[in-house]
């Protein structure tokens, strides 16, 4: 199409500012589709930095390797992209991840089926403890590649163990998945919108270099506070119900068992026990 009409600079500037009237704007838009000359002149009126930003993102996205079938499936199922990548490229993590997922789902199903108000209190009490057990199982020179690093920390191992709940190596364990789903489940049930859930989420997938004891203590205080507030706000007597006492005993027993099993690895120097 041979066209002798071209937009003047004033119109182009007003168009880019959104100040051109409807008819001018629409005419220019139709003209731009066919006129390379006016398109390149319009480009001088458009601010470049935002476009460069988009280009950077675009280049990264275009050059990123295409995700494999496993990763795509996981993302489609709702797993976050970094987690999906980790699971897809590290086959050794897959089994434990699947196991953790199955355990989480079983726990959720059980708590929904059999849990009443009591179940909720129990859940709020146990949910923060399970990840600690997970970390304790994943701690020690034979399973944890970063054991030497954590052993060099000037803190007692049980404390380290409690602090490490936010670390990346409990991601494939029951911990991260359980905490996330657990937080979601609490929210879904529409009650006790959960200071506890917030604490869980804050811990998920984070590794920073706060002094571990301060952080551990803070987290501990927060968790205890959360569980206590949540439970007492609803039903002060719930945490002392006889049926729960048995469960407390069971959890305590399990914790003692785990501690006994792992004690050798939980000291700074194995020979000191």
């Amino acid at each position: 199409m041979s066209s002798t009409w071209h937009a003047d600079d004033l119109l182009l500037a007003r168009y880019v500012d959104g100040q051109a009237g409807p008819l001018d704007g629409a005419s220019l838009e139709q003209h731009l589709l066919r006129c390379e000359h006016c398109r390149s002149r319009l480009a001088t009126h458009v601010a470049a930095p935002p476009l460069e930003l988009v280009w950077t993102r675009l280049r990264e996205q275009a050059q990123a390797p295409a995700p494999g079938p496993v990763e795509r499936l996981l993302v489609r199922l709702g797993v976050s992209a970094p987690d999906a990548l980790l699971i897809a490229v590290a086959p050794s993590l897959r089994t434990s991840w699947l196991f953790g997922l199955a355990a989480t789902l079983a726990f959720v199903v059980l708590s929904v089926t059999y849990g009443g108000a009591r179940g909720l209190a129990f859940f709020l009490l146990v949910a923060p403890l399970v990840p600690v057990a997970g970390v304790a199982f994943a701690y020690g020179p034979d399973v944890d590649p970063t054991y030497e690093v954590s052993a060099a920390a000037p803190y007692a191992a049980p404390g380290c163990c409690c602090c490490a709940r936010g670390g990346p190596h409990d991601l494939p364990s029951a911990g991260a998945g359980l905490r996330r789903t657990a937080a979601g489940a609490v929210l879904d049930r529409g009650r006790l919108a959960a200071p506890g859930a917030v604490v869980h989420r804050r811990g998920a997938g984070r590794l920073d270099l706060d002094p571990p004891d301060g952080r551990g203590r803070r987290a501990g205080r927060r968790l205890v506070g959360a569980v206590a507030t949540a439970a007492f706000d609803r039903q002060p007597a719930a945490v002392l119900a006889p049926a729960l006492l048995v469960l407390y005993a069971a959890v305590g027993l399990a914790a003692a068992l785990v501690l006994r099993l792992r004690l050798r690895h939980l000291t700074l120097l194995g020979s000191l026990t």
Binding site: Y15, Q19, G21, P22, A43, H45, Q61, A62
Partner: protein
């Protein structure tokens, strides 16, 4: 296939289909500015505009071979971009879409009688007639007639039922026809 800044758009598209990122850069420099300006007139969130721009060129990167080779590459790109905009704005009822700008915005100050006469000459009756349409009708005219969306896509963009789009477009055309024939008489 190698392409450089002197190549035409179709050659660049062919190079891009063969995986040449440099060709996409050239196309981006040519088309991103006007696309972003045009999208900004339809959506007042710069973040959404940036997302749509990225989506559009990503679609190009993945599906450059889908270009049939006829017509203008620019028009084809706009077709992709405006549909990406529709899906980006889906479920956003907070009215991100601007209808064709208010005429008041086009004239910051009250125009003098002289200017009004000049404007009348310059814009003709269509501009005034468009200006007399209600904002809802103008939005429908813009989405369907000017942006080339189907009735269904326009309905999704404007968050109204399809039949409403049809009715409004019908009425808008009747209004315009009426106004223009009155102006001639």
């Amino acid at each position: 296939v190698r392409a450089d800044t002197a190549s035409g758009d179709p050659e660049l598209l062919a190079a891009l289909a063969a995986g040449d990122l440099g060709a996409m850069r050239v196309l981006y420099e040519r088309h991103a500015p006007w696309l972003s300006a045009r999208l900004s007139r339809r959506c007042n969130s710069s973040e959404a505009v940036a997302d749509v721009l990225q989506d559009t060129f990503m679609a190009l990167w993945k599906g450059a071979e889908r270009w049939r080779g006829d017509g203008e590459v620019a028009a084809w790109l706009w077709g992709i971009a405006v549909r990406r905009l529709v899906s980006r704005l889906r479920g956003r009822p907070d009215a991100l879409v601007l209808p064709l700008e208010d005429l008041s915005a086009a004239r910051p100050a009250e125009p003098s009688a002289e200017e009004l006469v000049l404007l009348g000459v310059e814009y003709g009756d269509l501009g005034a007639a468009l200006g007399r349409l209600s904002p809802e009708m103008r939005a429908v005219v813009q989405a369907t007639v000017l942006d080339g969306l189907t009735t269904r896509e326009a309905a999704r963009l404007l968050a109204v039922p399809e039949n409403t789009v049809k009715t409004r477009l019908h009425r808008a055309k009747a209004h315009l026809r009426h106004d223009l024939t009155e102006g001639l008489a």
